[in-house]
Symmetry: C2
């Protein structure tokens, strides 16, 4: 059944008028007929079955009938990702939604070229992915900020899993190991923290000063993701998978 | 430094003539000059540094100098994947290469529409991904065969991790649980087998008869990948990640 994310409150008997793009999708693309049912969620009121009650050139109104699922959230893990190329960034947002990230923070780093991106488009990708993956909420996509500023204001109660692609390779240009990066499962195993973030760097990796600072922060856990070089999108998916399996709702 | 997969044997002093597409890439796209170095691997002889020795309209010859890495393989895990849509299948082959799958078997299932695909193109995608991920081998992509026939001839010494998207949902149409599907990490933990395969189904899922047969086979381990619905490409990446972290070379 078609699932749609909507803004209005949902309760039995409520009438929800869809914005033009969703109306067009339902009526023109999916050819929904009056009386047919869809599922609605808004991130607050759970999931509800609703029927197409009224259509006209100007409006598409759904009548809400019955709750099908109670509201449920996702674990408190956010993805902090450098502005990588557009296609990879869109993949990351889509997959982070499927994998249950609570929100996605975009950051610029010393080796990031871009400092802006189309956040509204990324938010739309997250919404569509949430509709398809049966989530009851949509992760918020936060506009880019500088990594250094983000770290300055970091809440130390939130652990940060730092996916360090240079790892502990002795030939890597970053040499001053303040702490050995462990395989992600080993590093996460037994950790009691409930609030986490996962940091994924840009295509060119973090620069040595960034890496040194990250390793010195008390809330940072440096991890490795295997012996092969992963693209940023693969690293984001793998890291979220391991976090969900070790500490999240996959257990 | 540029890395290329080549067919000929590699040893100090050997001269390797590149096929036209690689010659064009080196000379026209990357504008490599005579005397500049690249890295070569062939899946048998490790990785070697070589220099551009000779170029003409007809030939591009590299002179092999010194071995930079000894040959090393990947763990013995293969990905068995249903013929999903082209873009998703190409992503899966690229990511399976990054994540160290030994080979990729394409299968058709009862709910697969297509029964053929461009295997040569998928093999080229795997080769390019291997060049970029610093693998020393390229996973073989095997032409599609029927899942039922593959299972008929299966070597029972190879375990099969069955990613069952219907899982143990009591509302799922497959009801006759011959064994409860566990979270993947729990199911893999402590397993001693060295040879594995991971099975990823088509967009529409497996049909009930396929699911029932899979669950009855002694070499099959049914697993779940969390409470949200994953697309086939996400499921393939997550499953390979968890296998590598639990039993492969990420530990």
């Amino acid at each position: 059944m078609i699932r749609l994310h909507v803004e209005p409150s949902l309760s039995a008997g409520a009438r929800v008028e869809l914005p033009a793009d969703q109306a067009r999708y339902l009526l023109t693309v999916m050819r929904l007929q009056t009386g047919e049912a869809v599922l609605l969620f808004n991130g607050r009121d759970g999931e509800w079955r609703a029927r197409l009650a009224e259509t006209s050139k100007r409006a598409c109104v759904l009548e809400v009938e019955e709750q099908t699922r109670a509201q449920a959230g996702v674990p408190d893990v956010e993805l902090v990702v450098a502005l990588v190329k557009r296609a990879a960034l869109e993949t990351i947002v889509e997959k982070a939604t499927e994998l249950g990230a609570a929100r996605v923070r975009l950051v610029t780093t010393r080796r990031t070229n871009a400092d802006h991106t189309n956040v509204a488009r990324l938010q739309a990708i997250a919404t569509e992915a949430a509709e398809q993956t049966e989530r009851l909420d949509v992760p918020q996509i936060l506009a880019p900020e500088k990594l250094e500023r983000l770290l300055d204001g970091w809440d130390a109660n939130r652990q940060l899993m730092f996916c360090d692609e240079a790892g502990d390779d002795p030939q890597a240009e970053w040499g001053g190991a303040a702490g050995r990066a462990q395989p992600a499962l080993d590093a996460l195993g037994g950790n009691e923290s409930r609030s986490w973030a996962i940091l994924i760097g840009p295509e060119g990796g973090f620069d040595p000063a960034e890496r040194a600072r990250l390793r010195e922060l008390s809330f940072v856990t440096p991890v490795t993701l295997g012996p092969r070089i992963l693209r940023a999108d693969t690293a984001a998916i793998s890291a979220l998978t391991l976090w969900q399996a070790a500490l999240g709702d996959w257990a």
